[in-house]
């Protein structure tokens, strides 16, 4: 393995269970600090969707020591940037700053891990902000709205069926005390880990981390039951009528996630189908047949539970969405019937490996990568993952296509544009 790809991470665990992963990179005098909580929409129950995400917003709303809005103000006046995001599986907070100011991140993050006030009035104002966020991202974005519909159709049991943002009526029903209980339940050192990448001295940083996080008590995280998705035994179809200019088609197949042995073949398959202009879907549907404006595949094995492999496309103006659907299946049948060439598989592997090397250009991306693998079972999984990719053969690619790309296993979503428009 090229040395640039070998993970070089120092690992520490505090007595309260907080794990800390540090990777030194001295190319610029900066450091990124990330704290990952093992909670996301996957942990929410029916009727309470959106809790994890609203909690992420409330984390910026103050503790007795640092009032509302102080957090970002302190980071920004130190020249840093900070943000946070919530996914199905985790909630991550991060700051990037001059590396000699990493103490600021440590101080602020340890404080809000346990001392949030969650003022009732501010909670209600932030709930309204999240409803605006949902209007922006989902209600008024026809393709995202279709994704949400198709996922909720494909998954009938597992919580991945619910959007990370939450359903509108669920968000509107969130009460401050429920949210506070959720915070107390999941935000604890033993349900989190820290990733630091940059121009730092690990021993010095660890002294600060022990001083700040050390006295926070671990809590007992009850592992509650999470419904597992059962096998799908027949095609499901869903359509969405919304104001839009062009139709859109989305096809989703249930697939396993890393480190399942098929996940590597699926990653290579996805790259063969969709990795650039020479990939199969673009070349056939956009370039040669001129049937689509764009078309691609989207698979990520980086989930805690099995999720979906997506194929999607926009028909070129004047072309039929049904015809596009048929031709996507033709591409799928081709790769099921004939293994791709060695050259094609090698190209996909080169692309995947190169994207890891280019990712090292950014401290933030390096930390993200360490965090994502840590979440799935340990940062060393990155090496396992790249080895897995290297071992994929043309026959493996055909085999996983045959195994997962079946009519019984698929859900098809179609956006049907409605025109309602005027200008005043």
């Amino acid at each position: 393995m090229p040395s640039s790809l070998r993970a070089d991470v120092k690992e520490y665990t505090l007595d309260n269970g907080l794990k800390v992963l540090i990777s030194e990179d001295h190319k610029v005098p900066l450091a990124t600090f990330q704290i990952w909580y093992r909670v996301g929409s996957r942990n929410e129950k029916s009727g309470t969707s959106g809790l994890s995400h609203l909690l992420e917003h409330m984390m910026f709303k103050g503790t007795p020591r640092y009032g509302s809005k102080e957090f970002s103000r302190i980071v920004q006046k130190n020249g840093g940037m900070d943000n946070a995001y919530t996914t199905t599986d985790h909630t991550t907070y991060f700051q990037t700053m001059a590396s000699d100011r990493i103490g600021i991140s440590i101080d602020l993050e340890s404080d809000r891990m346990t001392n949030l006030i969650m003022d009732p009035k501010e909670t209600m104002a932030e709930r309204a902000v999240v409803m605006e966020e949902r209007r922006l991202r989902t209600e008024d974005d026809p393709q995202n709205a279709l994704f949400e519909n198709a996922i909720a159709t494909a998954m009938k049991e597992h919580p991945y069926r619910r959007p990370v943002l939450g359903w509108m009526s669920d968000i509107a029903a969130i009460q401050r005390d429920d949210l506070y209980a959720y915070y107390k339940k999941y935000y604890a050192p033993n349900n989190a880990f820290v990733v630091i990448v940059g121009d730092v001295n690990p021993e010095e940083v660890m002294k600060k981390i022990k001083a700040a996080f050390g006295q926070i008590k671990g809590s007992e995280i009850q592992k509650s039951h999470i419904a597992q998705e059962s096998q799908q035994d027949g095609e499901k179809r869903v359509s969405l009528k919304k104001e839009a200019e062009l139709p859109y088609i989305l096809i989703a197949y249930h697939t396993p996630s890393v480190p399942h042995e098929d996940s590597y073949g699926l990653e290579v398959l996805s790259t063969i189908l969709s990795g650039g202009k020479s990939s199969r879907l673009y070349k056939s549907l956009v370039y040669e047949k001129k049937l689509a404006l764009n078309a691609g595949a989207d698979y990520s094995g980086m989930y805690l539970d099995p999720f979906l492999f997506f194929l999607w496309g926009t028909p070129a103006p004047g072309k039929d969405v049904a015809e596009l659907e048929k031709m996507i299946y033709a591409e799928i049948e081709a790769i099921k019937s004939f293994p791709p060439s060695e050259q094609e598989v090698q190209k996909a592997k080169n692309q995947i490996e190169a994207s890891f090397v280019f990712g090292q250009d950014s401290l933030y991306m390096q930390a993200m990568e360490i965090g994502r693998f840590e979440l799935l079972g340990g940062w060393k999984l990155k090496d396992t993952y790249l080895d897995g990719i290297r071992k994929v053969t043309p026959e493996d690619v055909s085999r996983v296509a045959q195994k997962y790309f079946s009519e019984e296993n698929r859900t098809v979503g179609i956006l049907i544009p409605q025109k309602v428009r005027g200008e005043q």
Partner: protein
């Protein structure tokens, strides 16, 4: 401590070399000095180079002064179409061969046009740099613009324009630019329109390429795991055949008159997409730095800005609200953008006016001023924290004539800004009486009387 040294060195190749300057930036400690080498080749190409061996990658950016500023309104989209077609066929490679070769080595190569210039970018692993640089040079110097590819790309761009119409933010931005700049280059879409794209001929494209894609009209930057000798060899081998040419001088863009206007566009949406603004400033305006501080306080400073604090934090009426000055070479835009549920539009617009008038009338607090300056100076190193960002930064400082010591100068410019400067530039560059207001949303639920 400031530790700038300027020295001349033998470099790249004495055949090409005219001047070579090295700058160490004081923003970074010596271990992190950004050592920029600049040279001008005998064919007129300016080359900026930073050697960094921390990762086995090489980032290449080529800025070509070719943009909507160089096309006629009836052929809007010509600069963009030409850029799109660079990678769609050369004297020795067909379109599909270019993507096949680039993707096989896990590299990426593409060209994109913005208001002021076209940027051709290559990201390649060190071990494949010769192959990557050869293809990169081939698409810049020898594109053939095959008829079939022209037809195909025209259809794709027209389709993408149609698809963009379903994004409310695009619809608002398009109407806003046009209301402020009309048919001037900055008032049009870089991609052009269906009508203007249809008018573009192969001859137009070939002429545009021959006229503007010249080494003496371009700036190259190379950042990464490459020695000076290796770079010199690559340039000699692949870019020395690139011929200097006479380039048509760009006309200047007149500043439009601000005129109060309101545009309402009806769409079946739950949120109104609102843009309020007017013409802004040019990048070379000496007030750029005071304007940056003022805008940070008004609406540029993320969670710290006044607009975010009132409209999001206190009123809970938006997920995002921001203001920015887009300072281009020949002019610019100032705009406040926000999305709020249709029914809240009037309240939010009124709050934007309140905040614009407030910063025009009252001096900002010392705390706000200090916070803004601390952020703008302190965050600067983050703009240069990857090889890709450095490569793009280098061609921009050359294009906007900011000087190789800009990394040192920028914090000085920002630190010099006073509260009186902020008040003065707010008074001068924010024009509440001449604003264009665009509201895209469900108009039956939006009522804007008295605006």
């Amino acid at each position: 401590m400031k530790s700038e040294t300027i020295r001349k060195r033998r470099g790249i190749s004495s055949l090409f070399l005219i001047s070579l300057i090295t700058i160490y930036s004081s923003l970074f400690s010596d271990a992190h000095a950004l050592d920029i080498k600049r040279s001008v080749l005998s064919n007129g190409l300016t080359v900026l180079y930073v050697e960094r061996h921390n990762l086995p990658i090489v980032m290449v950016s080529l800025l070509v002064k070719a943009s909507p500023l160089d096309e006629s309104p009836d052929k809007a989209g010509l600069a963009n179409l030409t850029a799109e077609l660079l990678t769609e066929g050369t004297g020795k490679r067909k379109a599909m061969e270019i993507s096949e070769e680039i993707e096989f080595i896990g590299a990426s190569l593409g060209a994109s046009t913005s208001e002021d210039f076209t940027l051709v970018s290559l990201s390649v692993l060190k071990k494949d740099v010769e192959r990557g640089f050869e293809i990169f040079s081939d698409v810049v110097v020898n594109p053939t613009f095959p008829d079939e590819e022209i037809r195909r790309n025209k259809e794709l761009i027209k389709g993408s324009l149609k698809q963009s119409e379903e994004e409310p933010s695009f619809v608002a931005a398009k109407a806003f630019k046009n209301a402020v700049y009309g048919d001037l280059p900055y008032g049009r879409l870089v991609r052009g329109s269906v009508e203007t794209i249809d008018r573009i001929t192969k001859e137009d494209i070939v002429r545009f390429h021959a006229g503007f894609y010249r080494p003496n009209n371009a700036v190259l930057s190379v950042v990464g795991d490459l020695t000076e000798d290796e770079l010199s060899t690559l340039i000699k081998k692949f870019l020395s055949p690139w011929q200097r040419g006479d380039v048509i001088k760009r006309g200047s863009v007149e500043k439009p008159q601000n005129k109060k206007r309101t545009l309402l566009i009806d769409k079946e949406l739950t949120q109104a997409n609102i843009i309020i603004g007017h013409a802004g400033i040019r990048r070379e305006n000496p007030d750029y730095y005071a304007v940056s501080v003022m805008n940070y306080i008004l609406g540029g400073g993320g969670f710290s800005s006044r607009l975010m604090q009132t409209v999001r934090d206190e009123m809970g009426l938006a997920y995002d609200i921001h203001s920015f000055f887009a300072p281009n070479k020949e002019g610019g835009l100032f705009e406040v953008g926000v999305q709020t549920k249709n029914e809240s539009s009037k309240t939010v617009i009124s709050e934007i006016y309140t905040q614009m008038n407030r910063i025009k009338k009252d001096k900002v607090s010392d705390q706000e001023l200090e916070d803004a300056k601390a952020y703008l100076t302190g965050s600067f190193p983050r703009k240069l924290d990857t090889n890709r960002k450095i490569a793009d930064f280098l061609v921009a400082i050359e294009f906007y004539e900011l000087g190789l010591d800009y990394v040192d100068k920028y914090p000085q410019y920002i630190r010099a800004v006073t509260g009186d400067d902020v008040l003065r530039v707010a008074g001068k560059y924010l024009d509440t009486l001449g604003v264009v207001t665009v509201v895209v949303g469900k108009q039956s639920k939006i009522s804007l009387d008295n605006q």
